[in-house]
């Protein structure tokens, strides 16, 4: 039997986060094309909001979050200030990483958000290490580590998962399976395409793959996994999801996947939650409209904040090399 639904305020908060992420990503894309967000990389979370928001809602503040380079949505859902995220993407000194990192390398220690990582798979052993600290000190903390499907085929994945199993570390490994590792399809890169089965190799606890477009299902599953990890040890999860944009801005191949795209867009996680809310609370429409407008305003504010923030100076180049 499905768990009782969270209360209305919680659902509205989930809705707010998901809409905010979507609006933030849409604006980021525009700003990238206007060259206000510089560089050549921007990896958008559109389509995967149900996974990020549902999963993070299962954590407490003392728990830890770490992810790969598709990190804006995770940072937003963790409560990092959108102004400072946008400023980072602008390369401004007010950014969460002082402009040094850019979009893939967000960081916020106060949120126990251990950041985005550009090196595929590189953050997995770090997640295990953070989890080791919790176990070592007897702290009641869990690490939630997001993993792209593409990262499941390198050595970091195997070594980190194996070690977490051997040492019973409190970490939830959450594969966001969006079917593509950069431009290469899952079946062209993975011998075992049912990624959840990787848990068997480590005799690790696993739950059935989640419908990543369904924030309720993600939340419920991650909550169970977090409880398990806290008490017993690592868990592997797999969220079946899809990115509505390319791998990054230079990926044009995704646009040709018309059937697949329309199938997933028909199950847009935000639309699904919107419809569910309307079903539960028939008069909630105006409230949702207000949230939509508020999110738009937050994104506009973040853009202004980034625009008006100072650029880093020459002195900033050589700061933070040694403690």
């Amino acid at each position: 039997m499905a768990a009782a639904l969270p209360e209305k305020a919680t659902l509205l908060e989930w809705y707010r986060q998901m809409v905010l992420i979507r609006r933030f990503e849409e604006r980021s894309k525009e700003l990238f094309h206007q060259k206000k967000i510089g560089g050549v990389y921007l990896h958008l979370y559109n389509g995967q909001e149900g996974t990020g928001v549902g999963a993070l809602a299962a954590l407490r503040p003392q728990d830890h979050v770490i992810t790969a380079y598709r990190d804006h949505g995770i940072a937003i859902a963790r409560g990092v200030d959108p102004n400072r995220i946008m400023a980072e993407m602008y390369g401004k000194s007010t950014g969460v990483s002082g402009g040094k990192g850019g979009s893939m390398h967000l960081a916020s220690r106060e949120h126990n958000f251990w950041g985005g990582y550009a090196i595929v798979g590189g953050h997995l052993p770090l997640a295990a290490g953070i989890a080791l600290k919790a176990k070592y000190n007897g702290d009641d903390e869990v690490v939630l580590c997001f993993i792209g499907d593409g990262a499941t085929n390198n050595g970091y994945f195997h070594e980190a998962l194996n070690l977490s199993a051997v040492w019973d570390l409190p970490v939830v490994w959450l594969i966001e399976n969006n079917l593509y590792g950069m431009g290469t399809a899952l079946e062209d890169a993975s011998g075992q395409t049912k990624l959840i089965k990787r848990a068997i190799a480590y005799d690790m606890k696993a739950f059935d793959p989640m419908d990543g477009q369904d924030v309720f299902e993600v939340h419920e599953t991650v909550k169970k996994a977090v409880d398990y990890a806290r008490k017993k040890g690592p868990v592997l999860l797999e969220s079946m999801t899809y990115r509505f944009e390319g791998h990054g801005m230079s990926d044009k191949m995704y646009a040709a996947r018309v059937d697949e795209m329309s199938r997933f867009k028909a199950r847009d996680p935000i639309t699904l939650l919107h419809d569910k809310l309307c079903e539960l609370y028939p008069d909630i429409g105006p409230t949702l409209d207000t949230i939509d407008k508020q999110c738009e305003a937050v994104v506009t504010e973040s853009e202004k904040y980034a625009e008006n923030s100072p650029a880093p100076t020459f002195e900033d180049l050589t700061r933070h090399i040694y403690v």
């Binding site: 560089g39 040094k100 191949m253």
Partner: protein, 328 residues
């Protein structure tokens, strides 16, 4: 002669080598259907098929190590590491396996492997898409390290690398992929691995550089020639390992002053090796201290545009360093 870009020259070299030798194949991340993130392999999947242009998982260790094994067994792999920053998981395989095979087997085993990888900053890539990693590998006997700066050399050197019986690391200045253009003959030719190239003749001082900085060095040399009447010789090293010491010494004998430029950070960078060659064998020719203009000693090239510009050497910074040295 047709004028083409650096990346077109690289693509043509691979195309010709694939056509020439059925043992040659390419593997790497998105090199097949997508034609490479920089389009270095565009069209090759369609032309040669999925057994010769092979999409790999996102697993650099395996991309290189599969290549080493295949090369041992006499295939001719071209392994693409999508960004030089991603090569580090394969470091063990390159240093402990590829570099030492011929030596440890008393000449029985060879590793005719090419590892191609775009390197360097200046495109807004940030900390993990901008690294210059050459000095990690020039410390390893058994490897060859090649960095072209012109389309002509890129094509000729890459073809030589494919035919070389040793492991060759072929680093490509990605900022120059489309910015650097030059004449490239359609006819078959190779450029030998080893010799440096005198990119510009001069008598007042010598600028030693490679890759993107060799391109900038020529621009800077023209600038100071025009504006200040300083006659700079530019040596494009092209091959860092083995190093062409003769070219370095014959140039310093002529000019007496040396400026070394690379975008990798200063400390223990490749410039230190050139400076050591000059100190050991060129001391009596020197009329000034050997100078280096390099990336600053910070952990990476920051994303932020102004910080990236603070980091990167460029023609203006090189020209200023030339003026300082010329005035010594």
């Amino acid at each position: 002669m047709p004028i083409i870009t650096l990346i077109e020259a690289i693509r043509i070299a691979m195309d010709e080598e694939l056509a020439r030798d059925p043992r040659v194949f390419i593997t790497g991340e998105d090199v097949g259907k997508r034609g490479g993130v920089f389009r270095a392999t565009q069209g090759l999947f369609e032309k040669y098929g999925p057994t010769r242009v092979v999409d790999s998982p996102l697993a650099e260790l395996s991309i290189v190590a599969i290549g080493i094994g295949a090369a041992l067994a006499d295939l001719r792999p071209i392994c693409e590491i999508q960004f030089a920053d991603f090569i580090h998981p394969a470091f063990n395989q390159i240093v402990n396996e590829a570099a030492k095979m011929y030596y440890r087997s008393e000449g029985q085993w060879r590793v005719p492997l090419v590892i191609r990888s775009p390197y360097g900053g200046g495109i807004g890539g940030g900390l993990f898409h901008s690294q210059s990693v050459e000095a990690f590998f020039t410390h390893v006997p058994g490897l060859k390290v090649v960095i072209p700066s012109t389309p002509y050399d890129a094509k000729g050197l890459l073809k030589s690398a494919v035919r070389d019986p040793n492991p060759v690391l072929f680093f490509e200045p990605k900022k120059g992929y489309r910015a650097i253009k030059g004449e490239v003959p359609s006819d078959e030719y190779t450029v030998p691995i080893g010799p440096a190239r005198v990119a510009r003749q001069g008598k007042d001082l010598t600028l030693f550089a490679y890759g993107m900085m060799a391109y900038y060095a020529e621009l800077a040399a023209e600038q100071v020639a025009r504006q200040d009447g300083i006659d700079t010789e530019v040596i494009d090293l092209r091959t860092l390992l083995p190093l062409d010491k003769t070219a370095i010494l014959s140039s310093i004998q002529k000019t007496g002053k040396a400026l070394i430029v690379h975008e990798a950070n200063l400390t223990s960078g490749y410039g230190a090796e050139i400076a050591a060659v000059l100190a050991d064998d060129g001391f009596h020719y020197l009329d000034a201290p050997v100078k280096r203009l390099c990336g600053p000693d910070v952990p990476g090239v920051p994303f932020s545009h102004p910080m990236q510009e603070f980091f990167m050497p460029n023609p203006d910074k090189i020209a200023a360093a030339i003026r300082d040295l010329a005035a010594y």
